[in-house]
Symmetry: C2
Subunit: 206 residues, 2 copies
Amino acid sequence: MSDEPVKPRRISPRGIATRARIVESADQLMFVRGVTATSLDDVREASQTSKSQLYHHFADKTALVRAVVAYRGEVILEREQGRLERLKSFSGLVRWRNAVVQANALQNGAYGCGLGAMALELSDKDEQSRSALSATFAQWQKLISDGLRRMQTSGALAETADPDALATGLMAALQGGYLLAKAAHDVTPMEIALDMALSHIKTSLT
Amino acid sequence: MSDEPVKPRRISPRGIATRARIVESADQLMFVRGVTATSLDDVREASQTSKSQLYHHFADKTALVRAVVAYRGEVILEREQGRLERLKSFSGLVRWRNAVVQANALQNGAYGCGLGAMALELSDKDEQSRSALSATFAQWQKLISDGLRRMQTSGALAETADPDALATGLMAALQGGYLLAKAAHDVTPMEIALDMALSHIKTSLT
DNA sequence: AGTCTAGTGGACCATCGAGTCCGCTCAGCG
DNA sequence: CGCTGAGCGGACTCGATGGTCCACTAGACT
């Protein structure tokens, strides 16, 4: 309960690089196998490090998982910001839809959304990870709702529309689409889900 | 590759009961902890059985998991059939929505959809489970699309509407809603998602 | 040069978990 | 009554896994 003792650990560039290697390796492994099914030895091997380094940089597996949650959140938000920050028309939303679908189509949707998968796996196990993931979802939705608000400003979207609710609906369609696509090994359900959400937004166009 | 040798094992009522106890216990545990995080010792203890019984009734953990997948699918389909088989109007769909939301609101959405959770966790690990889950999703969607078709027959829903696509969209909204609700510990996103899907269906009402 | 600590290698430990095995009980059937 | 096999109890094996420990190295600062 020491409330963040401002850990006075000095860090060297080498240490930073090693830590980053560990987190990135863990991120990849946990993405394809899941968190629980990824062992620290897997991470050690993939990152070309040793056991002591893992425990030098992270208190335990939970701490590493939290670092992965944060890292993945950053990566996704950065990617989505690039895709959404200039969004200001319905056709832009369609382009975003196409990009997301195309990326997921590569493996017939075998890999879903890394954020959604972690949310389902960790929500009941680690409250801290859960709230971090929830915050990332909120930021992601804000990227969308901000775009919708720009559409309102430009007059493309009706003033009566609720950008936050529309963004939540779109995110749910996206996550549900990811899930059904993964289960079916087919991106079609994801396309249908996103098209439904877009169609719903369309009814609020001016 | 012996292609189902029609195992000639005789079964007694007692054996059936024990097997059922094991599957039900495993189902509950895997629902709250996840499949990987549930050990056979957990199952043994919860079902008041012994190790040898687990391996008497199931070849290995994978076989048990598959039995759980089948069991959970049956339970959910039975429940949903009861809710959906008489569906023939939009207000019936709204009642379904309310029932689903209310059930999930009990724990503030802490527990999601057992089917969706298993789909995400198992899709990459066991192809047989994946296809079974996918089939269950398909049947679930059929319960919905059949209801929508009845609405078409009665003239409530436009002939031009695509019941299968609408059902897929609704299911995606449901699953995405479950996921976001679980991450946020709040059912609101689930309500928004379902309302979006219903609103989308509404546009095809006559 | 000397010191101090972050960084590292890797052996080691304790536990857990999947799966095995053997011997017992119980119920049906001759 | 006694045989047989399903059903059962639980100790045991053994590899995997999270976590510890200690000795060594590199680099920054004096």
